[in-house]
């Protein structure tokens, strides 16, 4: 992409960014900050590219450190935001069937090749099981 095309993308993204949060209620400042925080964890993609092209062991080592840090940002950010929001929508009805997302952390660190991706899914994975239970009913009502 040429510089002008990149600039176009940036300018449009700035306006979208301003627009989507301009009318947010202060009640949601914390989850919004935390959610935006998770999104910039997508630097993981950059870290993966750099690590994947590393020849020198030093470069590889630093790149893998970047992968670890970026993963902490990305995965941790989405999980912690989901946990906050679970409390927002987790109102009475059937008194929380003990942490529906609770299985995921076990799946994440299990190691092996698929571990990364299954842990990546911990955010949305933790969200869905509750949709059918109390979260869907009272959560939407508010």
């Amino acid at each position: 992409m040429g510089p002008v095309a990149l600039l176009t993308v940036v300018v449009l993204a700035v306006f979208v960014g301003f627009e989507v949060v301009s009318k947010v209620t202060s009640k949601l400042h914390t989850p919004l900050m935390s959610g935006a925080n998770a999104i910039h964890g997508i630097i993981l993609v950059g870290a993966i590219i750099v690590a994947g092209q590393a020849g020198d062991p030093w470069v590889l080592g630093i790149a893998l450190l970047a992968v670890v840090l970026a993963t902490v940002n990305l995965v941790g950010g989405f999980v912690v935001t989901d946990r906050m929001l679970e409390m927002f929508s987790g109102h009475r009805q059937t008194r929380k069937p003990a942490q529906p997302g609770g299985a995921q952390p076990g799946a994440g660190p299990a190691g092996g090749s698929a571990a990364g991706e299954s842990a990546d899914r911990a955010g949305p994975g933790g969200a869905h099981p509750r949709k059918g239970t109390s979260g869907g009913v009272t959560g939407e009502a508010r």
Binding site: F18, T30, G46, V67, L74, G76, F88, G108, E117
Partner: protein, 457 residues
């Protein structure tokens, strides 16, 4: 492996970018917030799978192992952290993201021949390093590893000036020569700038700093998108940078102050410094039984929660107390100051955890006109957000911050641990007001005793 053509790669990155926009959009309304977050996480997953399938990558097993390690660190921490420690955790995640961006930029320096790209490298390194070091200081302040008060030393503005000058010089040299040595100097100066930027910020302003550094990391990630020629990083980073900037401004105006005033206020003569002195002026203290009688026979009670409630983990007890009072026919609402606690919206998260119904939460503008016909205000572990100094004394560090005007109510009861001033370190006149009584002790203990006494009425 290169299973995906560049067209498919671009389309999948576009999909991920749309997911991020929907995520932010969803997060700005309570109804859609959780789904929004899930959409964002799905977008991230799409992007990560796409990069594995599209780029020609070596070392894949090691990369997957690194991702597994990162997840193994992040998930348990994110699942187990207590609500009181949420601000630290968000700051920590933000810092490591900034650090990752800076490292990526350093490593890409060797591949970037174009001076414009090197400019983006310099920007990423500098802003990423500032975000990393700044977040580290923020975490240390919130975790009380270092003092939450503004830390200043003589000549600090000069040191800051020298660091910025040095960073500009080494940045220009990196752009011109692409020398790795200068880039390491730049990284070091970026870290120093991050420390110097956040150390002078007073504890009460830390939430704004977290949000600002969040925007910084977004910008660093956006610049890394230019470095790597990756549109997704560019879009996602810009989104976070822009939305983070707006969020920071919204929060700062909720405190009645400008962002620049918050960041650099301490330089202008210790404005957020306040005092540590414990006042020895007389106050009226009370017993849990008396407070229970006051509350139980009131018509209208407003509860003002603050950080003390979070520290004491008293959210469930205060929710029970509200229910017990409501059962007696008392009209009970919670008044939430936008910056109560250590993070904007902190109290909302905390009370949501305790299943306090959304309808009984009142925002500042809604509740302030109602204090005049309120019998009792119960202030639980809050201080600065009800301090009339914000309206009455122009010299005060919190002057101009909108406050909950609890002084308008008939009576005010403070649950406090001690007479120590609040996080901002300013004495509160309201404590010495004739209509105020104090109940000393840990917020949860006091609440439990008041609750017991209310039930016994």
């Amino acid at each position: 492996m290169s299973l995906l053509s560049s067209e498919w790669t671009a389309l999948l990155y576009l999909l991920a970018a749309v997911c991020f926009i929907l995520a932010l959009k969803g997060l700005s309304s309570p109804k859609t917030a959780r789904r929004g977050n899930a959409i964002g996480a799905a977008g991230a997953l799409v992007a990560v799978v796409t990069v594995f399938l599209s780029a020609r990558l070596e070392n894949i097993p090691l990369i997957l192992a690194a991702i597994a390690v990162g997840s193994a660190i992040a998930v348990p921490v994110a699942r187990r952290v207590q609500m009181t420690q949420m601000p630290q955790l968000v700051a920590l995640f933000n810092g490591v993201g900034g650090g990752a961006a800076a490292l990526v930029a350093v490593l890409e320096l060797g591949h970037s021949g174009d001076p414009w790209v090197r400019l983006a490298v310099v920007f990423t390194m500098l802003v990423g390093a500032v975000s990393f070091a700044g977040s580290a200081v923020t975490v240390a302040k919130l975790q009380e590893l270092i003092s939450a008060r503004p830390l200043l030393f003589p000549g600090m503005p000069w040191v800051m000036g020298a660091v910025i000058l040095g960073a500009v010089v080494s940045g220009v040299l990196v752009v011109l020569t692409g020398a790795v040595g200068w880039s390491l100097a730049l990284l070091g100066l970026g870290l120093a700038a991050g420390l110097l930027l956040v150390l002078p910020v007073g504890g009460a302003d830390v939430p704004i700093v977290i949000s600002l550094l969040n925007a910084f990391t977004g910008l660093a990630v956006a610049a890394s998108g230019v470095v790597l020629g990756n549109v997704l990083l560019l879009v996602a980073g810009t989104l976070v940078g822009a939305s983070g900037t707006i969020l920071t401004k919204v929060m700062a105006s909720a405190m009645g102050r400008g962002v620049a005033g918050i960041m650099f206020g301490a330089f202008k003569g210790g404005s957020t410094a306040g005092s540590t002195a414990v006042s020895d002026r007389p106050v009226r203290s009370s017993s849990p039984e008396d407070v229970a009688v006051q509350l139980g026979y009131a018509q209208r009670v407003v509860i003002v929660p603050g950080y003390g409630l979070a520290v004491a983990q008293g959210q469930h007890t205060v929710a029970e107390l509200a229910t017990a009072l409501a059962d007696r026919g008392v009209d009970v609402v919670f008044a939430i100051h936008p910056v109560a606690g250590r993070m904007p919206g902190h109290m909302n998260v905390l009370l949501a955890e305790a299943d306090v119904p959304y309808e009984s939460l009142r925002e500042l503008a809604e509740v302030n006109p109602e204090f005049a016909n309120t019998d009792i205000v119960l202030v639980v572990g809050a201080n600065d957000v009800v301090n009339p100094a914000a309206k009455s004394s122009p010299g005060s560090p919190i002057y101009g911050m909108p406050i909950l005007e609890v002084v308008q109510a008939q009576q005010v009861v403070f649950l406090k641990r001690s007479m120590r001033p609040g996080f901002a370190g300013i004495e509160n006149e309201l404590l010495h007001d004739p209509k105020t009584t104090l109940l000393f002790g840990d917020a949860k203990d006091s609440l439990a005793r008041v609750l017991g006494a209310v039930k016994a009425l």
